[in-house]
């Protein structure tokens, strides 16, 4: 009779798989490559008839959890085709960070993700640390306002608003059922945002794991460390104006009253992605956004 035990080794912090045959004849221990070929390693391990009397032989059948194949998270559209090409979308059940300085296109990405999520019929939350959402921009971006819960923190000090944001996020993650939860820390000074302990981000990651919720954090600098599955960094933008369609550093710009801001050119860099176990890669794209009045 064969039996298999899957246990978590607290000491080593690794998930181990044992394959044991009791009372059978001694079989040669299959190699690790045979046991865990790509595809269905667990089934192979469970069905293998192996028996070994020595401890070493048993340990030979143990595979670290990090080497076991994990199901890839479901990816959903970020609402911008160019971003989807870069990142393959936003992962459900994971934390995604979008960071960049002021005027780098973070809010544009945030609203695009909200719009895409509400278009899918999901309920979304924006936990706004500095009460910075412009409702008209949200409506112009296509966000269905009925499906958006807006939590406005930041009436007093940054410390107070940060505390409100963290507690509200805990409550919302506990409540569940939201398609997208956005934490907007974009206007908080980096030194204030860095006060969020790493354990809090681990807690958020654990809470959102195995749920269909996309957890998105928008900030100036990356602060969640290894807790984020996807890290997108935005660079400086370039404004575009109608009439001349010339960038701002043109030598002979037309008079200001003859122009209208028609959009921004946003540069995004994929700094980290843990989606498909590929090594860290850095890819950069530039895409355009338009203003609501540009048509």
């Amino acid at each position: 009779m064969s039996s298999a035990v899957v246990s978590t080794s607290a000491a080593q912090g690794r998930l181990c798989v044992f394959a044991i045959e009791e009372g059978g004849e001694v079989c040669p221990q299959p190699s690790e490559a045979e046991l865990f070929t790509e595809g269905r390693p667990l089934q192979r391990a469970f069905s293998t008839s192996s028996f070994s009397t020595s401890k070493d032989a048993r340990l030979a059948g143990i595979t670290p959890a990090s080497r076991l194949a994990r199901p890839a998270p479901e990816m959903v559209s970020s609402g911008i085709a160019a971003m989807d090409d870069l990142t393959e979308g936003l992962p459900r059940g994971c934390l995604t960070e979008i960071c960049g300085p002021a005027s780098s296109g973070r809010t544009t990405l945030l609203l695009a993700a909200l719009a895409a999520s509400t278009r899918r019929g999901e309920c979304c939350v924006l936990v706004d640390a500095s009460d910075a959402l412009d409702p008209h921009s949200a409506a112009a971006a296509g966000v269905e306002l009925d499906r958006l819960l807006w939590v406005r923190c930041g009436e007093n000090s940054p410390e107070k608003s940060l505390e409100q944001l963290l507690r509200a996020t805990d409550l919302l993650l506990d409540s569940g059922g939201f398609g997208l939860i956005v934490l907007d820390l974009g206007d908080l000074p980096p030194q204030a945002a860095r006060r969020i302990p790493l354990t809090t981000w681990f807690r958020f990651r654990r809470a959102v794991e195995h749920t269909p919720t996309v957890l998105l954090a928008v900030e100036r600098q990356s602060i969640a460390g290894s807790c984020s599955s996807l890290l997108i960094k935005l660079g400086p933008i370039k404004p575009r104006a109608r009439v001349s369609e010339q960038p701002m550093d043109s030598q002979f710009p037309p008079p200001s009253h003859a122009q209208v801001l028609t959009g921004l050119e946003i540069t995004a860099e994929l700094v980290r992605s843990r989606m498909d176990r590929k090594p860290v890669r850095s890819a950069e794209i530039t895409f355009s956004s338009r203003t609501a009045w540009a048509g």
């Binding site: 609402g79 609203l111 899918r120 999901e122 309920c123 412009d134 009925d146 939590v151 409550l171 956004s289």
Partner: protein, 554 residues
């Protein structure tokens, strides 16, 4: 067939329903004006230690283990309403015989609720769930059912034709049982006349040696009629189980109210929560019995001695301007002052009909934490507005959405955290004024479905967004040759620098017919910050003067 639910010792049962912890103790109810308060009713164990009706309160207080409670007509009316709800949960044809007795027509109920004994047991259990320990009797005619319920404990089912046999063992006093209930229903004079008559009849029967109904039923009719008249014949018909009257159905009003009068005022919210929990469980049990839910809960607290306890109470509960602008706040408060007592009202409006006492308790606790009554509480009234429970079926392929009950609790907690008007969904106002919107309650159910195919096709170009500074940042603007040259915001250091690029101005104005008229010029400008270029919206207020940075394009 008819069923009767009778609650023995109703006045004490009403008190036990409000304070279940008293069931194991000796309890006496007193009424009257001080100092002439007299014992009015007591439970069986109190009777065993020598307490009797008519004793003065001072005499009763000599018994150290006795718990004395004043008679509460409010609690009795609430208990009576619960009794009617219990009966109404089985049949729409219910007669309100007395405060402690209701009759239910069971015609056609067997196919729904099972056999007659099962129905009797279900009625008994339902009454117990509502906090009333009653007797239930089922018989072929209403009068026999009433007599059996008053005479036998627990559940009694009398097969048709065996009424006389079953009722025969009962004492003749059960025939005069409704003498007490007459007090509430009829005038005092009528009641006195009826009381004297029945006492006279009872005394006559006792003198004849008639102690049980079997003996009364066996008396010759003509001789009985000659001596006691039609009243005597009526009593004999009742004793034989042959008397019958037509059921007079009543429609119980859909009023779900529970109340507690407190002997000592409550100051802290924690003990109040215990009492609220009890009231909510009773209300929810009653709503469940009627297959209803509630969408609105009204809590009314009668406070003690408002003046002089908390001077802030004079302004408490009066909606401020900011409250008025958010017309869909979850709950509202009102104060009514009369004499030395005041009423503090809170109304909890729910987006959907719900029926969860724990959820209601949490919501009320959060609401009272945010809006404490501010004075000792003397009386608690809780009213639920009945509503049909929602009937919705979740779809397998629908996107996830938060559970309404959980969401409501989460929203209440978040509102306690950030403020009531600072969590919800957005509604754009029909105005060109910058930042023209208002907050409203967020609901996850009942939203229009989106066409996901069309939505997927819409995906496309990003729309440049503005991040607002609330309130707008006051700026100092340097002009060179009447053109924008430098902008400095003292409040936010990073918003300062030379103007690298600008478009505008665009002039707009509105609401000139209102007090809050506005007129402004807008520019979109690029400023060179320390390490990068940032785009801002700069506004010149034409009416009030001054320059403001309204937000940043991000």
């Amino acid at each position: 067939m008819f069923a009767c639910i009778f609650v023995p010792n109703f006045h004490v049962a009403a008190v036990f329903r409000a304070e279940p912890e008293l069931r194991a103790r000796d309890v006496a109810i007193f009424e009257g004006k001080p100092p002439l308060e007299k014992v009015f009713a007591m439970n069986e164990s109190a009777g065993r230690v020598g307490i009797a009706p008519g004793m003065t309160k001072a005499q009763a207080e000599l018994c150290s283990e006795l718990t004395l409670r004043p008679r509460s007509l409010l609690q009795e009316s609430v208990a009576h309403a619960a009794l009617l709800d219990c009966a109404q949960s089985f049949s729409p044809r219910v007669e309100d015989v007395a405060a402690d007795t209701v009759l239910v027509d069971l015609e056609g109920m067997e196919s729904l609720f099972g056999s007659l004994p099962e129905i009797g047991r279900s009625l008994f259990r339902r009454a117990a769930d509502l906090g009333l320990d009653g007797n239930v009797a089922v018989a072929s005619n209403p009068d026999a059912a009433v007599l059996a319920a008053r005479g036998f404990c627990g559940v009694t089912v009398i097969p048709p034709g065996q009424e006389a046999e079953f009722l025969g063992s009962l004492p003749v006093e059960v025939l005069f049982g409704d003498r007490i209930e007459g007090k509430e229903r009829e005038g005092k004079q009528k009641e006195d006349v009826w009381g004297k008559k029945s006492e006279c009849l009872l005394a006559t029967l006792k003198r004849w040696g008639i102690c049980d109904l079997r003996s009364l039923a066996a008396l010759p009719e003509i001789a009985l009629s000659e001596r006691l008249g039609q009243g005597g014949l009526r009593l004999q018909q009742l004793a034989r189980g042959a008397a019958s009257h037509t059921l007079v159905p009543v429609e119980a009003p859909a009023v779900f109210e529970e109340a507690i009068e407190l002997e000592h005022p409550i100051v802290l919210l924690e003990p109040l929560a215990f009492l609220l929990n009890r009231l909510l469980e009773q209300i929810c049990a009653r709503l469940t019995a009627r297959a209803l839910a509630t969408q609105e809960l009204r809590l009314t607290l009668e406070l003690q001695n408002l003046a002089g306890v908390d001077p802030q109470l004079d302004t408490f509960g009066i909606p401020s301007e900011s409250d008025a602008s958010h017309s869909t706040v979850q709950s509202s408060a009102q104060y009514f002052v009369s004499g030395r007592q005041s009423k503090f009202c809170r109304t909890l409006r729910l987006p959907l009909p719900m029926l969860d006492p724990k959820l209601f308790l949490k919501l009320l606790q959060l609401d009272l934490n945010a809006h404490p009554p501010g004075a000792p509480i003397m009386k608690i009234h809780l009213t639920a507005e009945p509503a049909r429970p929602r009937s919705a079926q979740g779809g397998l392929f629908l996107p996830p959405s938060p559970e309404p009950e959980k969401l409501e609790l989460t929203l209440a907690r978040i509102a306690g955290l950030v403020g009531e008007a600072r969590a919800g969904s957005l509604e754009l106002l029909d105005t060109y004024r910058a930042d023209g919107f208002r907050m409203r309650r967020f609901v996850s159910e009942g939203l229009p479905e989106t066409n996901r195919r069309e939505a997927a096709a819409e995906e496309k170009t990003a729309v440049a967004a503005l991040r607002r500074f609330r309130p707008p940042l006051r700026a100092t603007v340097t002009l060179e040759n009447e053109d924008l040259a430098r902008v400095v915001c003292s409040k936010k250091r990073e918003v300062q620098g030379n103007v690298l690029w600008k478009v505008g101005p665009w002039r707009s104005s509105g609401d000139w017919w209102e007090r809050e008229a506005w007129a402004r010029d807008e520019w979109d400008i690029a400023l060179q910050n320390a390490d990068s270029v940032a785009l801002y919206r700069l506004v010149h207020d034409l009416l009030g003067g001054g320059w403001f940075v309204e937000g940043t394009y991000d």
